[in-house]
């Protein structure tokens, strides 16, 4: 029990530190990559290659004067940044990030809390983040902030349904919500990585995750051309920083989830060396590295998309969520369940690479007409044309 407590506390400290430092570096990475995409330099003065820029920003935000609007609801105004910050950092707790670490006192699973409720916990905690945003917008007593908060609440709950339904597809194959079991299920071969049998679910999940984290092309809650800074217009100094940290921590969690649910988690492709005991330190380090690499790829995707796609209009955003993503997810679950029934119950296949590739074929067949229709906004344009235009 003592060993378990010590291991837990060490894991908690390490994970929290890694996320906070990761978030700091991510803010720098975002600015440097955006500069690179726009063919300019970006922050490169503070420390080598600007590496100390996040530290300077943090210090500045800690010491800057804070404004508190006179008409604001004081209690909620102070509470809102914490309500955004806490769930953003809590959600990562159930994600396994490496093979178990052997110690003289026993193996330590590399996950803060391997809860049996698994990604249901992430769906639950993830949706709590909306309270911070809505209360920030409402308590500021600023019309722009209020609009930002309202928009974000409607947007986040709309895409949450698509997000939840795309994870049901993962559940169908894994048969379990515990994330370490989801990872174990994907370790058979490269093709049992869920992105192959569940390609469309991955697509839905990615779109919904972008909307859930309020990132472009779905960043309407803080659309700076319309709403100044959206829900955090009135926030300054450390409280503003906390919203910023929450946004980037949410991105890290979403990226870690994409890697875990669809890209094999900490599994190293093309080898079974890392899958099974005896656990060694080398295995732990290698799987940690692979997991970090996968997460970084998705974080880069986030930044890349931000500087590539224009923002949606609000009616387009709601139409995409309710009229495209939701029915797509429903039909997909029905088709997938039928395909699994045919392959497993009728043909008697067990789950292996062949099974996964058959499902992958189904995904490709579905994807071709889908993207043909979705392309160039045909579907979105026609679905809003009745009222608008």
């Amino acid at each position: 029990m003592t060993f378990f407590l010590v291991a837990s506390i060490v894991k908690i400290l390490v994970v929290f530190t890694v996320i906070m430092v990761g978030v700091a570096l991510l803010t720098l990475a975002e600015r440097r990559i955006c500069a690179w995409i726009q063919d300019r330099l970006g922050p490169n003065r503070v420390g080598p290659e600007g590496l100390l820029q996040p530290a300077a920003d943090g210090l500045k935000n800690l010491l800057k004067e804070e404004t508190l609007p006179g008409q604001a609801d004081r209690l909620l105004f102070v509470l809102a940044p914490a309500l955004a910050f806490v769930p953003a950092l809590l959600a990562i707790a159930v994600v396994p990030f490496g093979a178990p670490l052997p110690t003289p006192w026993g193996d330590v699973p590399l996950v803060v809390a391997d809860l049996p409720v698994g990604f249901l916990y992430i769906l639950a905690i993830g949706s709590l983040g909306v309270y911070g945003v809505v209360l920030a917008g409402w308590s500021s007593n600023n019309k722009y902030a209020l609009l930002g908060g309202l928009r974000s609440s409607a947007q986040m709950i709309s895409y949450e349904i698509a997000l939840g339904m795309s994870t049901v597809a993962v559940l169908l194959l894994a048969g379990n919500v515990t994330l370490s079991d989801v990872v174990a299920r994907q370790q058979q071969s490269l093709f049992t990585w869920n992105v192959f049998p569940l390609g469309l679910a991955y697509f839905i999940f990615t779109v919904a995750a972008f909307a859930e984290t309020n990132r472009l092309p779905f960043d309407l809650p803080e659309a700076e051309a319309e709403l100044i800074a959206g829900y955090h217009t009135e926030y300054s100094a450390m409280k503003f920083s906390m919203f910023y940290i929450a946004e980037y921590a949410n991105m890290v969690t979403a990226s870690a989830l994409m890697a875990t649910l669809f890209f094999g988690g900490w599994d190293i492709p093309f080898t079974h060396w890392d899958d099974a005991p005896p656990w060694t330190v080398a295995k732990t380090l290698a799987t940690l590295g692979v997991f970090a690499l996968k997460v970084c790829c998705f974080l880069f995707l986030y930044i890349w998309v931000r500087w590539t796609l224009p923002r949606f209009r609000y009616d387009q955003l709601m139409a995409l969520g309710w009229k495209v993503m939701l029915p797509l997810a429903l039909v997909y679950i029905a088709l997938l369940a039928t395909a699994i029934w045919v392959l497993h119950d009728r043909l008697g296949w067990t789950y292996d690479s062949r099974f996964a590739l058959a499902l992958c074929g189904l995904n490709v067949l579905l994807a071709i007409p889908l993207f043909f229709v979705l392309d160039r906004g045909h579907l979105i344009a026609s679905s809003v044309a009745e009222g608008g235009a």
């Binding site: 908690i12 609007p69 914490a82 910050f85 803060v112 809390a113 709950i157 009135e234 029905a334």
Partner: protein, 127 residues
């Protein structure tokens, strides 16, 4: 079995303490020199007109209600998904895969009728 929840509680306490620390430290470290114009809400430099806590579009309530309906459908799908494939209907003693599939297709069909109804009533149109 309860161990993961202990770790989770420790982590939750740690995160909440950190949030409180961040707000607390900046409260004492930062200077505070309020002036009347600093205390006004920032609305693009225009003098704010009226209060922000007014009525807002009923559309937002509609979205919230639809969310609850469809989110509960998702909750119903999750336990079904968990036993569908790997459990073979609770270890071979359950109803079997074909029955589970038929059951869920009926459920989805009923859900879809409701979905088409709200679409036709214009609940998804954002004007």
């Amino acid at each position: 079995m309860r161990e993961p929840y202990v770790s989770f509680l420790l982590y939750a306490v740690f995160v909440v303490a950190n949030a409180a620390l961040l707000i607390g430290v900046s409260h004492f470290a930062a200077p505070r020199r309020p002036t009347p114009s600093k205390l006004e809400p920032y609305e693009s430099g225009m003098p704010p007109l009226g209060d922000a806590h007014e009525r807002f579009s009923v559309k937002f309530y509609l979205v919230a209600m639809l969310f609850i309906v469809f989110d509960i459908e998702t909750v119903f799908l999750i336990p079904w998904g968990a036993i569908y494939f790997s459990g073979d209907g609770a270890g071979g003693t359950g109803p079997g895969m074909g029955f589970l599939l038929a059951e869920m297709l009926v459920f989805l069909a009923i859900l879809f009728v409701g979905y088409v109804y709200v679409w036709k009533r214009g609940a998804f149109d954002w004007d």
